[in-house]
Each structure stands twice: as C-alpha cells, then as structure tokens.
Symmetry: D3
Subunit: 313 residues, 6 copies
C-alpha cells in the first residue's frame, strides 16, 4: 500500500485507491478525458485519465476500489496521477479501513471512556435508556464506533461520532462540577444520546452521505424516536423524565433556525447545547489549523465569518 501522503513527484506507481469522484471532460481539441478523485485514509489525489478509451482502462464507477497504474506529476504545486491503466479491485485485495479518514484516537478506549460515564448515571431509568443502545445493542455499538459525525465540516471521519460524543460528555462533566443547578444523570444521559440519530442520518463509510431519512427527518427527530424506542422497553419510566430527556435531544441545536424545533427550556438542555456547539467549533478550528505551520492569515472562513490564523505564541 502506497499511502497518498507518501507519494513523490516523478515516481511511477501501481496501487489500489477508492474512486471517490469521477467526471468526464474534453480537451479543446475534442479529446475526451476523465478527472478522478482518488482517496485513501491519508488524503485525496487528483487523477487524470487522458485516454479513457484505451484498452488499459477497464470499466469502473464512483465508489469502486480501483487499481491505478501511472506517473505522479506535479501541477500547480499539487501532485496528480496521470493514469495509464485502471482495473476494478476485488473484495479481499484491499483493506477498506485503509481508505477512510479515521479518528487518530482508539475507538475502543473512547468507547470504554463513554461506558465509564454511563455507569455514573445514578438514575436507573436514565441509565437503562442509555444502556439500551450503548451496552445492549451490539449492532448499534459497532455502527456508532465506526460512524462519522458529519458529511463534511468537523469530525467527518470514521470514529468521529464517538470522538465528538465523548468530548461533549467530558465537557458536561466539567459543567456539572461548575454549576450546581445541573442534574448529572439527566445531562450525562442526554449528552451520550444527543447525536445517536446521526447513525441513521448519515450512511456508513465509505459513502458517508445523507440518507433519505436524514434528508426528510434529520438526526434530531430520528434521535427522539430512538430514545422513545428505548424508553418504551423500560417499565415505569417516569413520563416527565422521558420528556425531559427527549427535550434535551430536541433542543440541543439551541436555536430554531439551526433545526431545533424548541429552544432549551431546562438547564440541562442549555448546558448540552453549549457543550455541543463549543466542541463542534473547537474541533473545526483544530482541523483547519492542522498542518498549518505558520501563523499567517488563512483567509476568510464562512463558518466563522472571519479571517483566521494560528496564534503567535
């Protein structure tokens, strides 16, 4: 396996990559060619197939794993691959995990961390609701661990949903210590479950795109329904408490225009909203600043509505 971030101008390689994008074009002379976007877990690479009708170029589609043979060249200070041969790879020839951006942390130890918080939930109803998914549902657990938290923006990598959730819960742990009005049990339960709807809103890697339900309902409504499914199985779950837990999911985006149909009406809902929003923004900045070595200005960023740069100290 030759990872994309190790390639160098001038070398000729033969390697399997995920074909994340494919777009046909034509030169001024009327000669057709194909633009590819190749991906592995270390990044992406533009590919050019200058002779797409040649015998060496077999059939393939977007999202196929393809073996490419060609030369690494440099164009406008970026590397690209001029591809002479393509063949669709078979399952078994490659390890899918090599082709997905993945959390740098250990999913297992993050999951253990999350379970530690689950066990701190003293209220038995709330703890059972959380355990319904995070302890008892093997299929959910394995999906949750491998999921991203976004199509793009922050935490858009395998394990990102787990990493974000754990980070939000830790944030809530701090807040429970700092603000006595917060109920630890409700806040932990809500924080752990706040984005479980994303396991349905986004398809799994390598696709990682909005599902039909994601488009039509969104992870907030989906998440509420999932919490209801759990609550339904727990005898005598207090009605008011179930509504409070669901309210925290409902209101965690904080503003109607951000997709929460209700504004936070409980202290825990407000705290969860702050923790979620802060972690998302800090992680986004972290991803933006990654690999930037200077404190030069990086240009206007639409999400932050500001030019950005790393600090000088």
């Amino acid at each position: 396996m030759r990872y994309i971030n190790t390639l160098q101008e001038g070398e000729t390689i033969r390697n399997i990559y995920l074909c994340k994008g494919k777009r046909s074009a034509e030169t001024r002379n009327g000669k057709p060619y194909d633009n590819l976007l190749l991906q592995d877990k270390t990044g992406t690479l533009d590919g050019k197939v200058w002779d797409p009708n040649s015998g060496g170029i077999a059939d393939y589609d977007e999202m196929d794993f393809i073996e490419c043979y060609g030369e690494v060249t440099s164009y406008n200070n970026n590397l690209q691959l001029n591809i002479k041969q393509i063949r669709k790879a078979q399952a078994g020839e490659y390890v899918p995990a090599d082709y997905m951006p993945t959390t740098e942390k250990s999913p297992e130890s993050m999951y253990e961390g999350l379970l530690g918080y689950v066990s701190q939930i003293g209220n038995t109803y709330l703890r059972q609701a959380v355990e319904y998914y995070f302890v008892n549902d093997e299929e959910f657990i394995s999906r949750f661990k491998a999921h991203s938290a976004a199509k793009s923006v922050h935490h858009g990598f395998a394990g990102g949903l787990l990493e974000h959730t754990l980070s939000v819960v830790k944030f809530c742990e701090y807040m429970v210590g700092a603000y006595p009005i917060l109920n630890k049990d409700l806040l932990y339960a809500a924080a752990i479950c706040h984005d479980i709807g994303k396991t349905v809103e986004l398809s799994a890697f390598p696709e990682n795109d909005y599902t039909d339900d994601g488009q039509l309902l969104g992870h907030i409504v989906i998440g509420v329904e999932m919490v209801s499914d759990a609550v339904r199985t727990i005898p005598d779950f207090p009605v008011k408490l179930a509504s409070e837990l669901k309210h925290c999911i409902v209101a965690h985006h904080g503003e109607l225009e951000y997709g929460s149909p209700k504004k936070p009406a409980l202290a825990e809902a407000l705290a969860l909203n702050f923790a979620d929003c802060t972690d998302a923004k800090m992680q986004t900045l972290t991803e933006i600043f990654k690999d930037k070595n200077s404190n030069d200005w990086l240009g206007y960023n639409r999400l932050f509505e500001s030019n950005l740069r790393k600090t000088s100290v």
Copy 2:
C-alpha cells in the same frame, strides 16, 4: 342559564359561571377586593368582589364553576358584575359545554366530512395509518372532536382542531385538482394527521393550556411520534413512505424559525404548509372581523404587521 351575551345593565342575577381568572387587589384606602374573569361559551365578563371577606363569599379557586349573585353594572362602556355572594357549584349543577367557546359548526358532520376524505385515501398503508387514530381509537376521536387548535389566536375553541383540520384537508383537495404533481393519498393522510400532536400539546377544555409535553416537545415532534406509533402496527409499511408522511408533519410550519426542524422537501409537504398557513390566517381574520359592522380601521395588528379593516364592498 343566563348567558353572558344576554346580560343587561341594571339587572340582578344569580347564575353559575366558570371562574377563568382570579386576582386580588387593594383600593387606595387599603381595602382588599378581588377581580374575577367569568366565562361561558358566549364570552367573558369582569367580576368585582368588593368585600371578599364577607360571609357570603365562600372559598373558590380559578377554574372552579361558581354561582355568583350580584348586580350587572356598566363601567367604561363594558358590563361588569358586582358580586355579593359566591358559592362553588357541584358537578351536576351545570353543563360544562355551556362554558366553553365552541365551534359554530356540527362536530359530528365535520367528523363525517373528515371520514369521507379518509376513505378516499387509496394507498392502503396510508389509509390504515390514518384509521389507526381517526377510525379505530374511540378515545382519540372523542378528544380530537372536542379539542381546540390553539391556546389563543385562531380556532381557540372546542371543536376548533377538527374544524381547522377539515378546512386544511378541503384546501388540499383543491390543490390536488390544480397541481398534478401532488399525490392525493399522501397529501390527504398528511393533512388529516398534521396537527394530531395538538391533542397532547394542549390540555382539554376548560383548561386549554400548554401541557408539560407541549412545552418540552411541541406538537410537531409529538405528532411524528404518534404517526410512528400507528405505522409500527401496520405490517410491511414501506419505510420510504413512512418517512415521507412523517416529513410532511415535520415540515408543515414551513420555516425553521416557525418550529419545523426541516423545510419542505416534497411537493406534498409544501402544499400542506401553504394550506395550513393560509387557513390559519384566513380564520384569524374571520375571528377579528366577526361582529365588526363597519369598515373602519381596527388598529395595528401585530400578527399581520398591519392596520386592518373590512372591505367596503
């Protein structure tokens, strides 16, 4: 029964009213008195208890039905009742329906009208989902018929929810005829169910106020959960279709800032949004113009962000 809209200045009456409001005050001389808001289905009346500690005034609370004895006087061109005696009435002494603002139409024939539309839903899954509540659930049916559609604003009377729902469905019937892109089955099902969450969001009359679930979740999320409850009981309900039905509920307020967590993404969701919004606004105007005999300007109205008046023709 002496209805409030039949009272005349100068007469002395003894009659049972609903005590919708009670507020203690004190004259400048330090004499305490009580301000009451009395209600029956024809309107409301201010009541004054100038001697709340006298023997004739028994214990009573807000939302009690109370028998009042006193004189009808006129103050600032409005009638009020100077109350000498109060006694709490017992169940059986009064007919609750006499005390609630109520639709002027027949709930039974409106319900029949709605069932007519239910039977026109050709898609068997959608029709079963609607029948789950509107045909098979007697408790729901009786609650739905008697419910209001709002705490205040439009359709804030018993039967209002039914009246609004039927009106929206008829609107959709027109649109199905006018715009061939609309699927009749989905639109009818969505229109009939769009506000079922209000049976939980608002308590029944005479209270007619937001419930805990109403505050925390709102009728959109509640309505989606109710649709899910129905769908769960219907074998082989197509997943995509269930999501489409739920999406229409989710998006029927049309804008995120109006409490819909998703904007309409399907033609039926958009049509339902227009029908709901238009009926609500036209009914609100109808209630505003009711009993206005001239086309004088009525003053600035915050909801319509305009001064309003009836037309001269």
Copy 3:
C-alpha cells in the same frame, strides 16, 4: 424544421435557430472561436464556431435567426453543434413561434376561461375596470396572451402570464367558497389584474428581459398606474373601492422585503397574496420535477432552501 429535442449525435444538419447568446473565446494556441447558444421552442443547444473568420460564416448578432450548417456531436453527455456555415435568415424564412418556449395549454381557451371569471364580477365598477384591459383593449389582450410571467424562475414562457393569472383566479374561486369574509368581486378583479404590470416590466419574446420601466418601477407600481388609467375612464367609480383594488395590487407580494410597499390590510389582499405565492411555488416545483423519472434527491435548491425530490408514491 429540425427541433432541438430531436437531434441525434452524428448527423449533419442545416436548420434555422434563434441565436440567444454569442460569446467569443480563444483556444490556448491563440485561435479564436465562438460559443453560441441556439434556441427553439423545444430547448437550447450549444454551438461552436471553430473557424469564425472562414468565408462560410456571415455576419450575425445575438437575437438574430441564423441558418446553421454543421455536425451534431456529443460533449460530456450533452449534444452540441460544430458549425461550419452561418447565414442570417430573413423574415419569412421562419415562424417565430417555433423558437419560443410556450405554454402547453391553449392560450385561447385559457383566455376564454379568464373571461368567464370577468363576467362573474357583479360589481359594475370593478367589472368595467377589468374589461378596460381584458375585453376592450385588443393590443393589451394580444400582448397579455403571449407574455411570460418571469424572465426565468416559474412561468417563464410565452403564455405563462396568462396561465399563471388564470391559475391564481381559480385559486381565489376556491377561497371565496371556503372563506365567507372574502368579497368575490374585489378578489376576482384583483386577481385578474394582479400582474398586468408584467406586460410592461418584461419585454416581449423572444427578448423577455427587464425593461427600463421594469427596473426602475417594477410591475407592482406599473400595475397600480394601469389600474388608475382604467378607473379614470369609469364615471363615478367609488374612491374607496378604487383604493381597495389598488391596495390588492400593491400588497400582493405580501412582505415589504418582497417588494410590496404595504402589507395586506384587507382580507382580499391577503387571499390574493396566498394564491399568488402558492401558485408560483407549486409551478416552480412542477418545472423542477418535469422530466425527472426517479425519486432521487435533486440537490439543494436555493429558492426552497432545501434539497428536493419527487415523492415515492
């Protein structure tokens, strides 16, 4: 006549098209060429003149009807015409109607439909005002029938203004039946006239672009002035009624930020606003969904602020 939607890759044709756009460019080798946008009523086609200075290419300009000789090729899955010869066609060689996108309905029968509503206006002043344009002004009638309702977006084809207007009036017919507070005469008159200013705001086909008055005043102010011109000719037209009719034109966009200098203050103005807005949005969706055979997601749509798709049923 070879309509654009019947062309096939590989054939060589000689046919007259409307030259809707012309833009000169240059290859990397410094060779000039021209990009054309050819149009007939079935669609548009990219044209390339690779040798614009050859003898076969006569003088021509944008908005000319030109006879093109060349080969139909395929580029990026779209057809284009590689043009060898061009000559400007003379009036008489072509039928202009063949070159404009046109309503699929019959203008004559739509116009008859509209007249049917005109005759239902009982108020003699209002009916005369409408007849001033729609019955007595032949030049206006022929212009109105052939006009589009927009430069782009919805109803942007010949006959579109008539089609939209009739659709809005029908919508109002439904509302008059549903909401007794509405005055049929005023609402019909206002609906029929609501967009008459567009006959001045937009130039006729094939140009179909904003006029100077369209840019400076807009169709709302123009429409009010046109109504005033009609009213001025009708003896004893009640002043208040004239203002009410003009108000409905003024307020039909519903919001100041959409270009209405006044919010609806009359029930008919509000109803017209809803009918206009709903028809515009439903027609836009109809045009978007046209020729889409699947219920795949179509991508984010800025006007609807949502991803869109056709329904599965």
Copy 4:
C-alpha cells in the same frame, strides 16, 4: 387666549382648547370621571372632569374646540386642569391656527425658498412637472404649506412638510456641488416632489391622521401617481425621464423593508434617500433635545436604538 405653556399652578381660567382626546374612567368608589387631553399650539395639558354629569358640562366630542372653566393644579410635577364647566365653542370664537403645533419658521419665506430651487431646474420638462403642483395648483400649494410631514415622530406640525422638503432640497444642493455625477435638475425635481403624497396620506390639521388612502397605498405610491398626473399634461415629456423621476420617488426610503418597492438604481435616487433619511433623523434629534438644558442621559430611545444625550460642549 391663555396659551398652555403660560399657565401657572393655582390660577383659575376660562379658555378655549382643542379636545384632542377624551377617555371615560371611574374611581374605585364607582364614581365616573373623564380624562381629557387639551391642546393648543404651545403644547398639551391633562384635563380632569370629576363630575361629568353635572349641569355645567355640556355635550362635546374628541376634536371639538371646547371652552373650559376650572383650576390649574399640579400633579406629579405636571400641571393639570380640574374642569368645572365645559361648553362647545362655535366657529368664529377661536382661531384654529392657535391650536396646532406649527413650524417656527415662516411658511411664506420657506415657500419662496422652495420656488427659488424650482426656478433653478433647467430641464423644461422636469420644471413643468414641479410647477404643475408648486406654482400652478393653488389648492395644492395652500395644503402643502399647512401640512405636517408625519403623524408623530419628526416634523409632526403644521408647516412641517414644507420645512422638511426645503431642508431636503438644500441638502441636495450641497450634494450636487460635492458629487459631479449628480444631475441637478433631476435631483431638485425629485427632492421637491418626494413627499407630495403625504398631502393625501395624512389628513389636514387638526386631525393629522392617516387617511384611508394613506393606509392602503402609502405616500410613495400616491406620490408616483401624482407625478404621473403632472407628466400626462406636459407634451413630449421624455418617457425615460419620467420613469427616472418616478423612480426617485419610489426608491426614496432606500430599503424594501422601509416601504420602497425598489432600491435606488440611479445616483439621484440614492442621494435623495440619504438627504431624506439624514434630515429626518437630525430633525428628530433636534425635537428630542429641545428644552433639554443639561447633558444628562435621556434614556433608551427605540428609534435610535441607543441611550441619548446632548454633547458637553
């Protein structure tokens, strides 16, 4: 005539005032009394009729001129009049001008000033359009001179419309000198006419309230129609120039949400918008600061969205 701003606590007076407001109330003891708002050109005064049913109190209504007899007292540091007798005054007993807030400047010399600018309009079409109203229409001239520019806010006094208009024209004179892209003739004509619609939007003093046309159409649309009336009488008025003049009226509020259906598209329209807005705001401040002797903070002002105070120098 005893002007309100000359009254002193303790004196007993008999004088005619305009009854600008009348509201019945009742003491805690059930005794009815009337609150009046009395007005003359120097200000307003609260009046109390403690015994409205006594023989000395004749019939009268809001907007009547009434002779009051009573004692000037002080309440909460404000003077008020305890009224013993009231009688409706007859035309002839009073000079209406004594009862209206009026510009402190000379209407005649302001009008002369305005005519000076009219004569500077070199373009004969534009000058004739302005003269149609400001030179040839005696009824308009006398109405314009006596009108206010607003129901409340700035320039809400007789002559205020003239004062504001002249001030805006002077502002435009400065701008014509400073910015060569501005056409003096168009800008002067537009500035002089920009608020002529207010003579119809607001009724004359003493009422000074929105008319039916004012509510339904607003002074911008009315003003455009008035300009059209003038243009129609002038042979060969260039079409484009007429539209430009009307555009300046249409766009002079600068923003759609402020009631202009078009944003300024010409330099003169933009300049007029700035002149109008600046003069309105500076005059509002002038009225707020009037009679304030200190530079203490005056409290939050909603129009300026700020606390305000006079400057220390």
Copy 5:
C-alpha cells in the same frame, strides 16, 4: 439591623435602609403620597409614605440611607412598610455593605484563586500585563473585588465581577485541557482581563449604573485601552502578542451585533467567547431558579426566548 428578609407582617420597626427609589404619586382624592423602594443586601421592600408633608418626614433623596419608622403590612401577598417617620442617616450610623446584594462566596478566596491562575501564565509579557492590574494596582484590586458584573441580569451584585471572572477562567482551564490548539498563557491572560473595562463601565455600589464612559464607549473598548496602558509599561512586549491579547478582549462577545467590533479570529478568542457566554447564561439560570422549590413552569423568559422550568430530577 433588621434585614428585609426577616420582617413579618404586623410588626412596627425603626431601621436604616438604602432608599433605592422614590416616586411621588397622588390618590384619587388628590392626596399626595410617596412610593419608596427600600433595599438592603437581603432584598427590597416597597415603602409607602402616606403623609409626605408631615413633620416626621425629613428631607431625603434617592440613594440616601434613611432611617424609617413604620408598620409592616401585607398587600397582595407582598410585605410593605407604611412609613410614619423618615430621617436621613449619617455616615457611621450604618455599614454600607449591609445594603448591597453581595456574592455568597468569599471575595478573598476567589481573589486568591484568581492569583493562582495568574501565576500559571508562563509567558512573562502576558503575566506582567495581568499583574499590572491584579497584583500591583491596589486601587484596582479593591474596586474589582467589590464590583458587580452587570447593572441587572447575571452577577449583578458586589463581588459578581470577580465571581464571573474566576468562573470564566476555570472554564478556560477545562478547555485548555480539552483542546490542544489553545495556548494556555494567552487564554488565561485574556480571560482574567476580559471584563476589566466593567470597573469603568459601571459605577460602584450602591449606585451600580452605567457611567458616561460606559454609555459612550462600553467595557470592550475601555478594556482594550486598559490593556494598552499595561502593555505600554512593559519593555519589549511583542507587538503581535499585544494585538492578540487585545483581540481576545475585542472579540469576546462573539458577534458584531452583541457589541464586538470583530468576530473571533484566533482559537483563544473563540474559546473565551464560549466560556464567557456559557457562564453568563448558566449563572442567569441559577439566579432565576434560586428559591424556586417546584418544577412548575416559570413563564416565558425573553432572554432565553422560552418558557423555563427546573428539572424533575
């Protein structure tokens, strides 16, 4: 000293209170009386002086400390004091601290806590800038300890500025641990200094109101100037670092419409914004929920744009 929260209906007291408000009024019978707002550190109490011109009532003004003699009565379920005698107290007769709402925590230990964070600032320039105020400026330190963080809303009590600042710094300590992109030195220095401008924006207790500079410049601009004053005294302070520190002050409100002239452009500025906003909101909720014993709904809260209630667990 009889603290307000210990008074009981029926008792007669003689005690010194701060006269926080004084407003003259008049009974319907024309008898003048005074409404007072009395304050000590435990709360506020309405006072009534029914006979303000009696000999027992000496001269006094708002913000005076006054000895009141009178009877505690109950009105509308609230206690009030019917005052028979008033005399202005002299300095020395009372302890000012008894009359101000005050943090429940120890200012000294909070200050010690803050110093602990100061000492953790490794960067010598940043630490010196903070020490300029928090270690070396005795007058500042004593003012800072006694200041409130707001006129009303959250932390509006003596010591509130210190309490809020320490809480924000602790929040930042958590974030430094959670997000490695944050520079501890810059974030601590910025957090400690972020609201120092409030010592100038608001006057000291008991007045605690906006100063002239507070109105004209606001605590953000004032704070930047104070940081500049400190930086100017420190030799070789890196220019870029000084700007970064000032930027964190400038941007700490996060949005232009909240009064920050720049959006956060550095990670530390963003983190400070989140810490400040979260602490302010959580403390506001804490103050709202204080003394509420049930989880009943508390009514719509404008700041949170939601109805609010305590959680059921």
Copy 6:
C-alpha cells in the same frame, strides 16, 4: 515609461511594471505557463509567459517591479502582453508613484484644505488633539497623504484616505450650517480623525492590504487608541470631552453589525455616521460610473443590492 492605458495591439514593448499577481498554470498538453497581473497607475494588464523556463525569464516574485519584453495582443477584446523576457528591476530604475492608482486631485491642496478646517476648531483641547497628528507628526502626515481608504471598494487609491476625509469634513461643514444642534468643534475634530486608524489597518502602497492589527482590531479600535495617545499628551483635557470624541470614532459605522461597538448616542456621532456613509456610497457610484458613456444598465451590484445605470439627463 509606457503607461498601460496607452498600449495598442500589435506593438512590441520593453517596460517596467509592478507584478501585482503571479499564478502558474498548465495547458492541456501539460505545458506550464504563468499568468501575470501587471499594474501601473493607469490600470492593469494581463501578462502571459508561455515559456517560463526559458533563459530570458529571470527569477521574480509578486510585488516585484519587473521589466517585461513582449508583444501586445488582443484577447476577447482585452489587451494582453505575451512576454518573452523578464528581469527584476532595481530601485532607482523606476518611480514607484508611477505604479499606484492615485487620487486625481492634488494631495497638497487637499491637505491644505484639511488644515483650514483644523484651524476652525475653536475648542483648544480638540484642536490640539487633531494637531497632534495632522500638524505635528510629520511621519503621520506623509503616511496619511499617501494612504488609500480601502483595500478595494471606494477610495482604494493613494491619496484616497485624504480625499475621503476631506470630503467627509466638508459634508460636516454643510450639516453644521443646517442643524444648529451640532457642535462644530467636536464634529470637525471627529470627522478629521474618524479614519486615522486606517493608516495602521492597511499597509501602505503598493501592498495596500490588511495588516495583522487591521485583522485583529480594525481601524475603529485602532483609531480610538490613537486618539487616546493624543489626548494623553494634552494637559487638562476634559474627561467627558475626550470620551465624546472617542465615541464619535467608535460609533461612526452607525450599526453594530457594521463594526461599531456602540450606536451613535450624540448628535455629532450621528452626523458623522451619515457623512461617512453617504460619501462612501457616492464615491463608490462615481467609480462605478467612471468611463461609462451610455446609460445602459450595468447589471446587479451586490453592494447596492440593485441593478444600476447612469441617468439619461
């Protein structure tokens, strides 16, 4: 020196230009080439280096002054330079002023004009504060004269800051005459100083880009600090007056969302805001209309949110 606006198609030139931009590209055949943006004070010119690796092309970077040898050709109706040889020019070979867009007015006489206003400031404190920079600080004066007022948009040329400032002061002179509530001394001082922060916010020509301080603090905060620096040197400067002067700087953008942390609270601050905004917009229009000879529509302009055209008269 061959100025760009004198070049003609077909000629071959050798001349020094400022290399304002440089971007490498590649033809479809894989041949690299460079796109240059050449600038002198009369405009800009595209340059193409088709053979960047040839011996005639020496090393150079953006913002270098380079001698180019090549042929002037025409592409798409615009001239461009096909460059054969490039060599970096040495200081002394060129006059930098020849390469910057520069005010068409005389900086010296504009500066004299500004000094005239300085001398009219009667208040000795305010005049000294202004003189601190505009009379006594030679370095500042020379920088201020040569600075632009913007990176792009209006007055984005050398001398633009002086030209804009003088124009704003003249505007204020008019307003002082028109509105007696304005204090001339404060308004002149504030107007002269309102944009002095731009000398720090933007780097000098030829770079003319945001500095680090410009990004982090902005010219409003920088300007306030500069005023403070001046005030600090003037004995007995009245505190209130200093705050008023600084407030005018702080509030001169008029709205929080435009970067003013405070809305105008003084008449002079409001007047300065209007003068600044009006001059900026009128100058922007002037630059847009420059060299436009017709009154054709120029297309939608985002800043003015409107299509724009010159007037027909």
